[in-house]
C-alpha cells in the first residue's frame, strides 16, 4: 500500500494548500497598509476605530444574552424530555433542526412582517424591543447546536436517579435544574455556548435587516469602504473562531466519557 500512502499525502497537501494560502494571503495583505513596509498599521487602525469597539461590544453582549436565552430554553426542555416525555423527543428534535432548513434571512423577514410597530406584539417599535428580537433570532440560529450539545451532555448522566435523590432531599424543580442538572452538564452547555458565540459574533443578515449596530454589518461596511482593514478584520475573526473551537476541544477533555445510565 505504498501508492495509497503517496496519494494520501498528495490529497492532504492539496487540501492544506487550499486552506492555508488564503490565510497567508490575507495576513500578508493586512500588513501592507503602509506603503513599502510590513506593519501592523491596519490592526492599529481597526482597534482604534470607535465603531469597531462599539459594534464588537454590542455583538459580545448580544452573544452573551443569546447564550443565556439558549440555556434557559434548552436545558429544562431537554431535561424534561429525557425524564418525563420521551415521546416528544422526535418532535423537539425536528423543531431544533428547523433553523437549518429555514434560511436566517427568511426567519428575520417573518419577524419584520409579524412584529412591526403596527402588530399586536410590536417588538420593532422600540430600540430595546428590536434588540430583544435580535437576541431571539440569534437563539433560533443557535438552537440546533445548543440542543445537540446539551442532549449529548444529558446522555452521560443518570437524570432519573439524580432527580429522585434531589427530590428525596426536598429540592424543588428550580433547585434540581439549576443546582443538580446544570452543573452536571456544564461542560456540554459551555461547548454549546462557545459555538453560539462563534455564530453570533460575526452574524450579518439578521443584524443588518433589523438595523442593529452589530459587528457583522460593521464588517460589511468596512469591506465596502477600506482596503487593508478588511484583511486585518478577517484575521481577527479567524482568531476568534479558532479560540472558540479550541475552548470547545479543551472542554471536551474534561467531559465524562461513558454513560453510567443503563439504557
Amino acid at each position: 500500500m505504498k501508492s495509497g500512502r503517496f496519494w494520501a499525502w498528495v490529497t492532504f497537501a492539496i487540501g492544506a494548500g487550499y486552506f492555508f494560502i488564503p490565510l497567508i494571503a490575507t495576513f500578508e495583505f493586512s500588513l501592507r497598509k503602509t506603503r513599502g513596509i510590513y506593519s501592523f498599521d491596519a490592526y492599529r487602525s481597526v482597534f482604534g476605530d470607535p465603531h469597531f469597539q462599539e459594534s464588537f461590544t454590542y455583538s459580545i453582549v448580544a452573544a452573551l444574552f443569546t447564550i443565556v436565552l439558549g440555556v434557559l430554553l434548552v436545558v429544562p426542555t431537554a431535561y424534561w424530555i429525557r425524564l418525563r416525555m420521551p415521546q416528544l423527543r422526535p418532535i423537539v428534535e425536528f423543531i431544533t433542526l428547523l433553523p437549518l432548513v429555514i434560511p436566517a434571512i427568511v426567519i428575520v423577514f417573518g419577524y419584520i412582517r409579524m412584529y412591526g410597530s403596527n402588530s399586536p406584539l410590536p417588538f420593532l417599535a422600540t430600540t430595546s424591543g428590536t434588540n430583544v428580537l435580535l437576541v431571539i433570532g440569534y437563539a433560533t440560529l443557535a438552537l440546533p447546536y445548543m440542543y445537540r450539545a446539551v442532549d449529548t451532555g444529558l446522555r452521560t448522566i443518570d437524570v432519573r436517579t439524580l432527580t429522585e435523590a434531589a427530590q428525596i432531599l426536598g429540592a424543588g424543580w428550580t433547585t434540581i435544574i439549576g443546582r443538580v442538572i446544570l452543573p452536571n452538564v456544564l461542560i456540554a452547555v459551555l461547548s454549546g455556548a462557545f459555538l453560539t458565540f462563534a455564530i453570533v459574533i460575526g452574524e450579518f443578515t439578521m443584524a443588518s435587516l433589523l438595523n442593529r449596530p452589530a459587528f457583522g454589518p460593521y464588517l460589511q461596511n468596512i469591506g465596502a469602504n477600506r482596503a487593508y482593514e478588511p484583511a486585518a478584520l478577517a484575521i481577527i475573526a479567524f482568531v476568534i473562531t479558532w479560540g472558540c473551537m479550541s475552548l470547545i476541544q479543551l472542554l471536551s477533555r474534561y467531559a465524562p466519557k461513558s454513560s453510567n445510565q443503563p439504557r
Binding site: 500500500m1 495509497g4 500512502r5 496519494w7 494520501a8 499525502w9 490529497t11 492532504f12 487540501g15 487550499y18 486552506f19 494560502i21 488564503p22 490565510l23 490575507t26 500578508e28 495583505f29 493586512s30 430554553l73 426542555t77 424534561w80 424530555i81 418525563r84 416525555m85 416528544l88 423537539v92 428547523l98 433553523p99 437549518l100 432548513v101 429555514i102 434560511p103 434571512i105 427568511v106 426567519i107 428575520v108 423577514f109 417573518g110 419577524y111 419584520i112 412582517r113 409579524m114 431571539i136 437563539a139 460575526g202 450579518f204 435587516l209 457583522g216 464588517l219 460589511q220 469591506g223 478588511p230 484583511a231 478577517a234 475573526a237 479567524f238 473562531t241 473551537m245 470547545i248 476541544q249
Partner: protein, 281 residues
C-alpha cells in the same frame, strides 16, 4: 383524567418555537398566496417566473450545487486520506480541529480573505502574474463571478464534509476488507463493491446538507460581490430593505420558494440518512 401539568415543563420551548420559528415562517408562506387585499391568489407564485427572479434562483442553485459537490468530493478525499491513508496520527487530529474552525469561518470575513487572495490585487493573483506570467483576470476569472463565489463557498464546504463524513469512514469495518480479500476480491473490487455502496447514502445525504447550507447563505456573497452577482438571498435582501420589486407579496413568494427548495433538500437528506444508518452502527 390527570391534569397535564407535565406539559408545563416543555411549554416555554414550544411557545418560543411557535412564536419565533413556526408562525413567522407560516406568515410568509400564507402571504405568498395572498394579494394586497388579502384574497387568495397564485399570482405571486406565477410572478416568480419573471426572468430576473428565475435567473437568481438558478445561479443560487448552481453555486450551491457546485460548491456542495466540489466540497463533498474534496472533503471525502481528505477524510479517506486521514483515516485510511496511513498518515501520521497528528495529521488526523490537526485536520479535524482545523475543519471545525474552518467550517465556522464563513460570512463576511471569509469574503475578505478571498478578496485578499484572488481579488485583482490578491496575493495569489499577483504571484501568478509576476512569477508565472499567468494573468487570472485576463483569462476570464473574476472573484465576483460564479466560479469566484463557488471557490469561496468551498472553503467552508470541504471542512464541513470532513467533519460529517469522517465518522462514516471510521465506521467501515476492517473485517469487511479482510472478508473481501479472503473471497478473492481485488483492492478495486473492494472499493467498488463494498466501500462505495456503504458510503454512498451518507455521501449523498451530506451533499444535500451542504447544498442547503450554501443556498441560504448571504453574508459571504454580499460582502464579496455587493449586488453584482444576484443570487436569490441577495434579491430577497434587497426586497426586504427597499421593496425593489414594488410588490410586497412577491417578496413572500421568493421566501416561500427558498423554503420549498431547502425543505425538499432536507426531505432527501433524512431519507438518505435513514438508509445510511443501516450499515454504520
Amino acid at each position: 383524567m390527570r391534569l397535564p401539568t407535565q406539559w408545563l415543563g416543555v411549554a416555554p420551548f414550544f411557545i418560543f418555537a411557535v412564536m419565533f420559528l413556526i408562525l413567522p415562517t407560516f406568515y410568509l408562506m400564507i402571504g405568498a398566496f395572498q394579494n394586497d387585499a388579502g384574497e387568495f391568489t397564485f399570482e405571486n407564485i406565477a410572478a416568480l417566473s419573471q426572468p430576473s427572479i428565475v435567473a437568481a434562483y438558478w445561479i443560487s442553485i448552481k453555486v450551491s450545487l457546485a460548491s456542495a459537490l466540489i466540497g463533498a468530493l474534496m472533503g471525502l478525499a481528505i477524510a479517506i486520506a486521514i483515516v485510511r491513508g496511513g498518515l501520521p496520527n497528528w495529521i488526523r487530529s490537526a485536520t479535524l480541529t482545523f475543519s471545525g474552525v474552518a467550517s465556522n469561518f464563513a460570512g463576511v470575513p471569509l469574503a475578505f480573505a478571498f478578496i485578499a487572495t484572488l481579488g485583482r490585487l490578491g496575493l495569489a493573483t499577483v504571484i501568478l502574474k509576476t512569477y508565472f506570467g499567468f494573468d487570472l483576470y485576463a483569462n476570464g476569472f473574476n472573484i465576483l463571478s460564479f466560479w469566484g463565489l463557488t471557490l469561496t463557498y468551498v472553503y467552508f464546504q470541504i471542512p464541513l464534509m470532513v467533519v460529517i463524513i469522517t465518522p462514516a469512514i471510521d465506521g467501515l469495518k476492517k473485517e469487511w476488507g479482510e472478508a473481501a480479500s479472503t473471497l478473492g476480491a481485488t483492492q478495486s473490487q473492494y472499493w467498488r463493491m463494498v466501500v462505495v455502496p456503504v458510503i454512498w447514502p451518507s455521501f449523498l445525504g451530506t451533499v444535500i446538507l451542504l447544498f442547503a447550507n450554501a443556498f441560504g447563505a448571504i453574508a459571504t456573497a454580499y460582502a464579496l460581490t455587493g449586488s453584482s452577482l444576484n443570487i436569490i438571498p441577495i434579491v430577497l435582501y434587497a426586497q426586504i430593505r427597499g421593496d425593489v420589486l414594488h410588490n410586497a407579496h412577491l417578496g413572500y413568494a421568493i421566501a416561500f420558494g427558498m423554503i420549498v427548495i431547502t425543505g425538499l433538500a432536507n426531505v432527501f437528506y433524512i431519507w438518505f440518512r435513514t438508509r445510511s444508518e443501516r450499515w454504520l452502527k
